[in-house]
Symmetry: C2
Subunit: 151 residues, 2 copies
């Protein structure tokens, strides 16, 4: 088969599969997997910054800037996954996520605010400013992990 045609057909197939899944309301178990995926990637990209903030590993301005940018994207991704339809899915999300949505949103906004400051601090290559901003991020993690996640 002509390679261009093959690739065009493949693109259609790929697009079609994704498209159908994307415009039906995503299934609860898919939403849970997606938000868990976001947290797995938080581990990957927050991890090194947490280590640097504590002085356990050397400060590296390039990694800080790159990871802060990734976290800026990642920190926007989990929230629509906490759809009411997921309430009975198996996960570590506590009922308070759905029963106290205002407080959950408050914790989320605090976290997003802290990430915004981290992104800003990561641009100057200033280690002290990074450590202050990273400390705020670390604290804001607890806003959800302490109150809205099972131990």
């Amino acid at each position: 088969m002509n390679k261009k045609l093959f690739l065009a057909g493949l693109a259609l197939l790929l697009g079609a599969g994704y498209g159908v899944a994307a415009f039906a309301q995503a299934k609860p178990e898919v939403l849970v997997k997606q938000r868990q995926a976001v947290m797995i990637l938080h581990g990957k990209y927050w991890g090194p910054l947490g280590g640097m903030a504590q002085g356990k590993v050397p400060y590296n301005a390039d990694i800080v800037a790159r990871n802060a940018g990734f976290l800026d994207a990642l920190s926007q991704m989990p929230w629509d996954g906490f759809h009411p339809s997921t309430k009975d899915e198996k996960s570590r999300a506590l009922p308070a996520v759905f029963d106290d949505a205002a407080k959950f949103k408050e914790a989320r906004d605090r976290y997003r605010g802290a990430i915004g400051k981290l992104v800003a601090a990561s641009k100057g290559g200033d280690e002290a400013a990074f450590k202050v901003a990273a400390g705020e991020v670390g604290k804001s993690c607890g806003g959800c992990h302490e109150n809205f996640r099972a131990k």
Copy 2:
């Protein structure tokens, strides 16, 4: 316990856990989970764009711009997860990922280039330009999914 102190302690704990995991070489099974997490999120954010590119759902410039930005970050994330240590882990990655690294890198670069053009096209709110760029992204997915991933 004083709340500030508690949160500070929590931040340390969180940072410590992540930090230790981050600076030892990540375990192969963790690397696989991280790269699979990236692909789950590609599904979430590429899906709607694939649907729009095919005219199956209405073009929405705001979603295009947001998702293109997320894909710009996500498209940088999987590659270091294809570490040689993961070769024997259970996943759909074919041995060619490791045995033909140059071709894998070529496919990856083509994909990253297509995403760069998608990000550029998403900024103008121009539907026709978006469709051209999204078509290239769709094709470039096949560069890895056809040659480096088990059916």
